[in-house]
């Protein structure tokens, strides 16, 4: 994937497929310690413990149509390539937590990319609430679809509202000097 934000979108799509109602996404640019950390937590159906051990194996998947699943495998490969790693914790019936760690200044690390596009695409793809937190060292930007819904009601899939959200997120990340397009 060309952007970290695309990996995030891919993993979050898994959450939606798993019936999640809430997805928490955090991007932490810990530049002081040279670490980029991405966390995605959902309240979906969770992953069976016998699958969990091999979940980043491309030939392990829960889907019925084919025997391959590449999402987590690709993200793990991207992390390992950047002297990091990926871990998946999950409890059946409770949810799943994916944590990815990459060396921040590694030459192979993809740019963070358009987080706003990822979040807008996710809002469009299901009836979910997304909480997003972006940290750059000590500076924090937060976004929560639940807050938006308080103002505009439950239907936030209207194009004008999505446009507002997109610009709001772009602006928010820029304000804390987050790496949007790098």
């Amino acid at each position: 994937m060309r952007e970290i934000s695309l990996h995030i979108m891919d993993i979050a799509q898994n959450s939606i497929s798993a019936g999640a109602k809430n997805i928490y996404i955090e991007v932490y640019e810990n530049i002081n310690e040279n670490i980029l950390k991405v966390t995605i937590i959902d309240d979906g159906k969770g992953i069976d413990s016998d699958i969990l051990d091999n979940v980043t194996d491309p030939f392990v998947t829960s889907r019925k149509t084919r025997k391959v699943g590449l999402g987590l495998s690709l993200f793990e490969a991207a992390c390992k390539r950047c002297d990091g790693g990926l871990s998946v914790k999950s409890k059946l019936g409770e949810g799943t937590e994916v944590t990815a760690i990459l060396k921040y200044d590694h030459i192979d690390r993809a740019p963070i990319g358009r987080i706003s596009d990822t979040i807008v695409s996710l809002i469009l793809s299901g009836d979910i609430d997304i909480k997003y937190k972006h940290r750059v060292n000590d500076k924090i930007f937060e976004f929560d679809t639940k807050e938006i819904k308080k103002t505009v009601g439950d239907d936030i899939k209207e194009p004008e509202i999505l446009r507002w959200i997109k610009e709001y997120i772009d602006e928010g990340i820029k304000n804390i000097d987050g790496g949007v397009w790098e």
Partner: protein, 133 residues
């Protein structure tokens, strides 16, 4: 700065339109959004479609997403389903191609043949755009 007041303004403007929407005459535009689609560039395609739908102020159009359609090498894939018509599958889409499909097919009713997946005897035989080049 983006403000919540702006958001309330938007809400007032969109409220009427939401109520007008009827499902019977709705055209569905579906974008494949699995790993394969995302890696091939489905996100900008999806957002271009949304943008075009907004720009043209199309009311009876729903933009939806789906998982892997099964022909990953042809991603990004966009399906257009107009009411009462067969589904049309567009392959190897780009934001520019997607905008053209919205304008010519969704609005104009004319299928953009160059981007359509062709199936002959149950086999996907070509990618029209490549053959033409």
């Amino acid at each position: 700065m983006k403000t919540i007041q702006e958001l309330e303004e938007i809400r007032k403007n969109t409220l009427d339109r939401v109520n007008q929407r009827r499902d019977r005459n709705t055209t569905r535009i579906v974008v494949g959004m699995a790993t394969c689609g995302i890696a091939a560039g489905a996100r900008p395609v999806l957002l271009a479609i949304m943008d075009e739908v907004e720009k043209l102020n199309l009311k009876d159009v729903i933009v939806a997403q789906t998982g892997c359609i099964g022909v990953c090498r042809l991603e990004p894939i966009v399906e257009v389903i107009r009411p009462g018509e067969d589904k049309v599958t567009y392959i190897k889409m780009t934001p520019e191609k997607a905008r053209r499909v919205v304008n010519e097919h969704v609005v104009g009713g004319k299928v953009v043949e160059e981007y359509v997946m062709h199936i002959v005897d149950g086999k996907i035989i070509n990618d029209y755009t490549v053959e033409k080049d």
